[in-house]
């Protein structure tokens, strides 16, 4: 079998079970592709020994007839996940040298299902960014280019390494996390599928915390079926995360019928933005037509507080981050600054955090500190939480009117060039304009590639579902995927 790395998870699963290929062969093929792809900056800690050990165990399990769907499947793991004995730095210098003594719940579940870890994947520092440019490891690069133009493009962020690795066929799937769009935006920029499940579906235990009320893990894969397979393995109740939902996890793959007759899809008028490229507008209306042709009813809806989602997010997320990142104090793990004669503990904290955190992380920690400080808590933080209630109510209202899913663009543009001079941080924040509402409302959202722009770059559409109905959402996404027939791949230059 050639081009093993190009296999989808579902194809590899079937081939493994038939004995057409072994996990060791698959894993070796991925490891060799990874070694040739350093130019992409996707894998930042390679773990070939762990991978080959897991592959061998997986092959034994498969031979013994005990093979869950992910048994023997080589995956990449975002650096935000704590993996036992393997560097887990959240792409931050402040966690230099940190090797967890424990395994995150999500990666434990994946490994218990027999998945193979190829290594850790690049990301924005502490998942704060939309271009993977805030990473201590340097940029991850998008395997897609504008035709023959060699300009390096961003794979998006914060799960930029995951997106780049999956799009370049370095692994069969990858874990991502999504606080404001960090799975869906990079998936859209790289022509892959990414789903953020309902808040509480995946345990956050052992995932480095950014904004705890918004963070969710999810899979980034080559198609919707793979997303269904991988999501099922990642979900489930965990006593170690008090916000993880004690709900049964359905067989998501079994729900992929492609039949969406009788479903009602909402098109929110507030997602039409001034200055949105015509191509995004056209993609969106094509998506609408595809779902209508598949038998869904399309209905215009209103989510009136959409405009306030980004400003609310940029109060709530930094506020939570300032609290979560207080733990990086140079005492228990990671970096500690060299101290001068006479320096006390306060100097140790201040120098350690100034050296260890990059500029965007410092900025957000300080903004969060400000909005939580005495005298401003009500004006900023409490007001933002009230607006969040209204944003969620917008969605509850349309779901109560019978909307099954909502179709929007995933991003306001295609992948942009790395190193673009962004003098105003707010300009970068606008990348998340279509995705961030979903985190604030705790809903499941999926990005599906549906077309290319005129420069040959992938574009994605987002579907937003009802809480806990990932299966139905995946099925709608599957219908969209089938109608769009997106099969383009980046040509290999790395």
């Amino acid at each position: 079998m050639t081009d093993l790395t190009k296999l989808k998870i579902s194809e590899a699963r079937d081939a493994l079970r038939k004995g057409d290929v072994t996990s060791a062969e698959l894993t070796e093929a991925c490891l060799s592709a990874i070694d040739k792809a350093d130019a992409l900056g996707a894998f930042v800690h390679k773990t070939p020994e762990v991978a080959m050990g897991q592959a061998k165990s997986a092959d034994d399990r498969i031979k013994a007839g005990d093979a869950p769907d992910l048994c023997g499947i080589p995956l990449g793991i975002k650096d935000l996940f704590c993996t036992k004995g393997v560097p887990s730095q959240a792409a931050s210098a402040i966690l230099n040298g940190f090797k967890p003594e424990y395994e995150s719940t999500v990666t434990s579940q994946l490994f218990d299902a027999g998945a193979v870890m190829l290594g850790k994947l690049n990301m924005d520092e502490f998942a704060m960014g939309s271009s993977n440019e805030t990473s201590t490891y340097g940029n991850a690069i998008n395997p897609w280019r504008r035709g023959n133009d060699e300009t390096a493009l961003t794979p998006g962020g914060s799960s930029g390494g995951s997106a780049s690795a999956v799009a370049a066929d370095l692994c069969l799937g990858a874990t991502g996390t999504d606080t404001g769009g960090s799975i869906r935006q990079p998936a859209a920029f790289t022509g892959i599928t990414g789903i953020k499940p309902t808040y509480g579906r995946c345990s956050r235990w052992g995932i480095v915390a950014f904004a705890s009320s918004l963070d969710q893990a999810g899979p980034m894969t080559k198609d919707v079926r793979d997303a269904a397979i991988m999501l099922e393995a990642m979900c489930g109740h965990d006593p170690k995360d008090s916000t993880s939902a004690d709900l049964a996890v359905p067989n998501f793959e079994a729900m992929l019928t492609g039949d969406i007759k009788g479903k009602t899809i909402g098109i929110p008028r507030e997602y039409t933005m001034d200055g949105m490229p015509d191509e995004i507008e056209a993609l969106w209306s094509e998506g609408r037509k595809m779902l209508a042709d598949a038998g869904a009813t399309i209905k215009d809806i209103s989510l009136p507080h959409t405009k306030y989602a980004l400003p609310a997010y940029y109060v709530i997320a930094p506020a939570e981050a300032s609290s979560n990142l207080a733990r990086y104090d140079g005492v228990r793990y990671g970096h500690r600054a060299k101290l001068a004669q006479g320096d006390g503990i306060t100097e140790m904290y201040e120098k350690t955090r100034a050296e260890g955190f990059g500029p965007e992380v410092q900025r957000r920690v300080m903004v969060g500190t400000y909005v939580l400080s005495a005298g401003f808590y009500d004006a900023y933080y409490n007001r933002a939480r009230k607006v969040r209630t209204l944003i969620k109510k917008d969605f509850e209202d349309v779901f109560a009117e019978g909307i099954d899913a909502i179709l929007t663009p995933a991003t306001p543009s295609a992948a942009f060039e790395l190193g673009k001079d962004v003098t105003d941080p707010v300009e970068m924040y606008l990348n998340d304009v279509f995705t961030v509402t979903v985190n604030l409302a705790g809903l499941p959202g999926i990005s599906v590639p549906t077309g290319l722009d005129k420069q040959g770059l992938p574009l994605g559409l987002q579907l937003i579902g009802r809480p806990w109905e990932e299966g139905d959402l995946l099925n709608t996404a599957y219908a969209l995927e089938q109608a769009a027939g997106f099969v383009a791949k980046p040509s290999q230059w790395w």
């Binding site: 940190f98 400003p311 140079g330 500690r336 900025r363 903004v367 400080s373 007001r383 707010v426 604030l440």
Partner: protein, 95 residues
């Protein structure tokens, strides 16, 4: 809202992040931009709206208040930049 240099310095101090004096004006400007963006929230009528506590209404589970884990001092200290005699070591805190 415009953030002055003193406020920027105070916030940096509260966040325990050292910011050199010559970097404060730029930082104050960035804060002003971000807060200017956030101030759109003042347009929203939030009278009578409850601030969100939990995105999915769920009752947090209760558990017995018992010891379920522990006895792993070596693992706890394994990643410390400075650990001595079974403790985290820090600069002198009390004179």
């Amino acid at each position: 809202m415009s953030i002055d240099i003193e406020t920027a310095a105070r916030v940096a101090k509260l966040a325990r992040i050292r910011v050199e004096d010559d970097a404060l004006p730029a930082l104050a400007q960035e804060f002003s931009n971000i807060l200017g963006f956030i101030e759109q929230l003042n347009e929203v009528d939030v009278d009578g709206v409850e601030p969100m506590v939990s995105v999915e209404p769920m009752r947090l589970k209760r558990r017995k208040d018992g010891v379920t884990d522990g006895g792993m001092q070596d693992k706890v200290l394994a990643n410390a930049p400075d650990a001595r005699e079974g403790f985290f070591a820090v600069p002198k805190v009390v004179e």
